[in-house]
Symmetry: C2
Subunit: 338 residues, 2 copies
DNA sequence: CTGTTAGCGCTTTCAA
DNA sequence: TTGAAAGCGCTAACAG
């Protein structure tokens, strides 16, 4: 069943049917009505691959995610799916754990003629996405903190989040703050670390560089980092992390060491993944508003689609401290007798 | 850049280029080699929408998931992405929380000419997927436990998992087992419940119908159900659940009630989601092998694609008890003095 | 072994 | 206000 069939039934040409479907005003109301009825009766399903072939518009956006097993990213995926489902747009999902997978994914996106692409990883070499620039595909990066022609960015304001977290810990009496960061070589890892450092200074606290470790945004990294941190001659009493999975890993590591959270060590996550509130103890974390991120990405894509030569937009989403139970007042320290 | 351009450069016709790309043996080795070189040099990217238009094959599978925020499903999504990335197949993802979303998703799949569809929800009214049958789209359902022409099924063997879990609890001294099931009206909920009941009987234990509650496969349901269970005059000492999220919810609910897991109540999950090992206590749960499920789905789809009229296949994946720390020996009960 | 050609379904320009 | 027709890129049937 195609437009020609519908046209035949309605006694018009397929051009008229196309006009009705696309809401063109150039059709007599009566004719349009008759066609619409037939469309409903026959349950007509248009074939967008014809349009894709003719005009290169696919009504598909690419979505590059660094780790499909990280709930933060799939929660964003869920938001995007939600926002797009109404509009007949589809997502082409690519898990880009490795550089070679990323290269292949870019190719897949070009093949499928995506109308835009969202990059949730800043780790890509510019090289990998170059082909997309070349083919004038509108882009949005997340937290790459730079825009270009046809390339927008949605950044996360880590600073306010970490600052509130540091204030919160200071009030609880903590003075030795540790930090477990993300993979080296990713811009967002540096950004997060710098936001933490800035927050510590702004709160007028002492920065302890020996209490900073590198993680991998996953459980394992957090677990290993915390075990290394706790071996320090004087370990931190509270640890901030680069994301929730790292925090979960740290908590697991602490338990393995026989330490209790938050009695012995306070932990602060970042993301506020759904399960953060379920952990025992429920995780104190810095929330990234996923809905707003998703909306920002789509808005940017829409904006750029109009004019790919134009400079992309820059959009910043705020973060917010969510205090739960993985942070607590510091244990009163035994002072050496005078 | 299209096949004609490549053909021009190679001094051949586009048909020959097409043959080379598709690995036809009907090309002289020398010619093929020359074309392959040009393909590489020019970084040619074929346009599959032409093929889709011509033959209705899209190299896309639909994937219907009931809850994109449930890590179990996104972990399956990750497996599928992994398996498909090599093959230039894409996934069209649909979150089908509501019936109307499901209907729309089926339409989206028909529009995009999917070559097959995987239904991770048994909740659909047959009506909703009827159009897919009509259009002869190969289907795989998960745990619908029935096959038809062009419709395969991948079932999960809950029985062995629950049985092992029940044995495990019996050995720990538990006699009063509770159960928190899934949403009513889903076949898989019934299947899970029946598997639990059968396991209890098979282990020679007493079934306590008043210790059975309905959940919703999500945190909230587990939380509410456990609170209701604990109000029973004699509450369960161990509770099995329909999935991990329910178990997480139950644990959260128990903490809210001031009960400790596993000291006061043992909890058993189902799925073995990535974070199950991170919770405190790490969750004892029945593992569903996600990789095998994903492989089973794709195998079934491939099989049916050859011949849509043929009866679908039936594939069962086993389950496996993973003992962690949310289950423990029952507390010695004070017996009334004689 | 290679080329020619038709046609998939849609949209849009041009003509009426 | 409507219709005719071209053409997007690819593949397979057919002809050579």
């Amino acid at each position: 069943m195609n437009m020609k069939d519908i046209a035949a039934r309605a006694g018009v040409s397929s051009a008229t049917v196309s006009r009705v479907i696309n809401g063109s005003p150039l059709v007599r109301g009566e004719t349009a009505e008759r066609i619409r009825e037939i469309l409903l009766e026959t349950n007509f399903i248009p074939n967008p691959s014809a349009t894709t072939l003719k005009y290169g518009r696919s009504k598909t956006y690419g979505l590059v995610i660094p780790d499909l097993r990280n709930p933060f990213f799939t929660e964003i995926l869920a938001e995007l799916e939600d926002l797009l489902a109404e509009t007949d747009y589809e997502l082409l999902i690519a898990n880009s754990q490795t550089s070679s997978k990323l290269v292949k994914s870019v190719r897949r996106m070009l093949m499928r003629q995506v109308d835009g692409a969202i990059f949730m990883a800043s780790e890509f070499d510019t090289q990998a996405i170059d082909p997309l620039f070349l083919h004038k595909v509108p882009l949005v990066t997340v937290d790459r903190r730079t825009v270009g022609a046809g390339c927008s960015d949605v950044s996360i304001d880590f600073e306010s989040g970490y600052l509130n977290a540091v204030y919160h810990l200071r009030e609880l009496g903590h003075r030795r703050l540790g930090y477990i960061g993300g993979t080296l070589g990713l811009l967002t890892s540096t950004t997060r670390l710098e936001a933490f450092v800035k927050a510590v200074k702004q709160a007028g606290m002492e920065l302890h560089p020996q209490l900073i470790r590198i993680g991998d945004y996953r459980l394992r990294g957090g677990e290993q980092a915390i075990q290394s941190l706790m071996k320090e001659p004087s370990p931190p009493t509270a640890v901030l992390t680069a994301n929730d999975l790292t925090a979960f890993g740290a908590i697991r590591g602490l338990h393995a060491l026989g330490c209790s959270v938050p009695k012995d060590v306070s932990i602060v996550g970042l993301d506020d993944v759904l399960l953060a509130s379920v952990l025992q103890p429920p995780l104190t974390t810095i929330r990234i508003p996923r809905r707003r991120m998703a909306e920002g990405c789509l808005k940017a894509l829409n904006h750029t689609k109009e004019n790919v030569e134009a400079l992309g937009t820059r959009y910043t989403v705020p973060t917010e401290l969510v205090v739960r139970e993985s942070t607590a007042r510091i244990r009163s320290v035994r002072r050496p007798a005078k």
